[in-house]
Symmetry: C2
Subunit: 124 residues, 2 copies
DNA sequence: TTGCAAATACGAAAACTATCGTAGATATTT
DNA sequence: AAATATCTACGATAGTTTTCGTATTTGCAA
């Protein structure tokens, strides 16, 4: 089980890549700048480090490199869940689910989706 | 909304305090040592820092100080959830729940608990 | 082709976290 | 009371992450 552990800043960048698809540093940086103040070379540097770590790949055929996420959103989700289930939920998935539903009011559609999902455990 | 952001080590300590209740550094350290190798003064130092930050309080009337968690497990859970919902789940509670149930096989009891919980949304 | 603009590469500083050695204080034991 | 054990306080080091300044490279336009 290769453990994916992007840092905070790395996650912010992955988010952009997941949403926008393969992007240049400039594009990622523009996007991040909407919420946060920071220099262009900072974003560049972090993306370069991510590349060394294998979190992203990049196409360097043109002057301006294009970066792509190499970890899927799902992998990151799973990894993030693992972590907080271990640390704050004492291993209880049920606690997590109930907390999540309790403090983040889900929409009716969401509730329905979850109910549907649970049906598969009906006959066990 | 005061944002609780304990570090990794701080969370490990909080876990002990949540489970055992108010404890001395020695007690916390013994507990941590079960899973992890590290020096006593390391634990002490972190707990002192946590005190500065207000994550714990302490009773210094005796020679040996007694520390108590000042953030509840619930607060930490909520905060951890908020964070990952923002970063990796793009705001979708349903995604989170389904992922959680999918990758961490919950026990039958847990599934039942969740189903029960969902019943309260029956008539909406 | 020369110069300018935009991009990458590099390295180092700053900020934060974790770790521990040592000193000093406070009890406990002999 | 002196020696011993245990605790807190303090400061320094090491590791990690974030940030950015500066140099170099690359493509385009004058």
């Amino acid at each position: 089980m290769s453990d994916i552990k992007p840092t905070e800043s790395e996650l912010e960048i992955l988010q952009v890549l997941w949403e926008k698809g393969p992007s240049t540093v400039r594009e990622v940086h523009e996007e991040l700048s909407k919420n946060k103040e920071s220099g262009y070379t900072t974003t560049l540097k972090i993306m370069q480090i991510m590349h060394e770590k294998g979190l992203v790949s990049r196409n360097t055929s043109a002057k301006t490199h294009v970066y792509s996420a190499e970890v899927s959103k799902q992998q990151a989700q799973k990894s993030a869940l693992n972590k907080i289930i271990d640390t704050v939920f004492t291993g209880s998935t049920a606690d997590l689910v109930i907390q999540a539903l309790g403090s983040h009011r889900a929409s009716k559609d969401e509730i329905d989706a979850i109910k549907d999902y649970l049906k598969q455990f009906e006959n066990k």
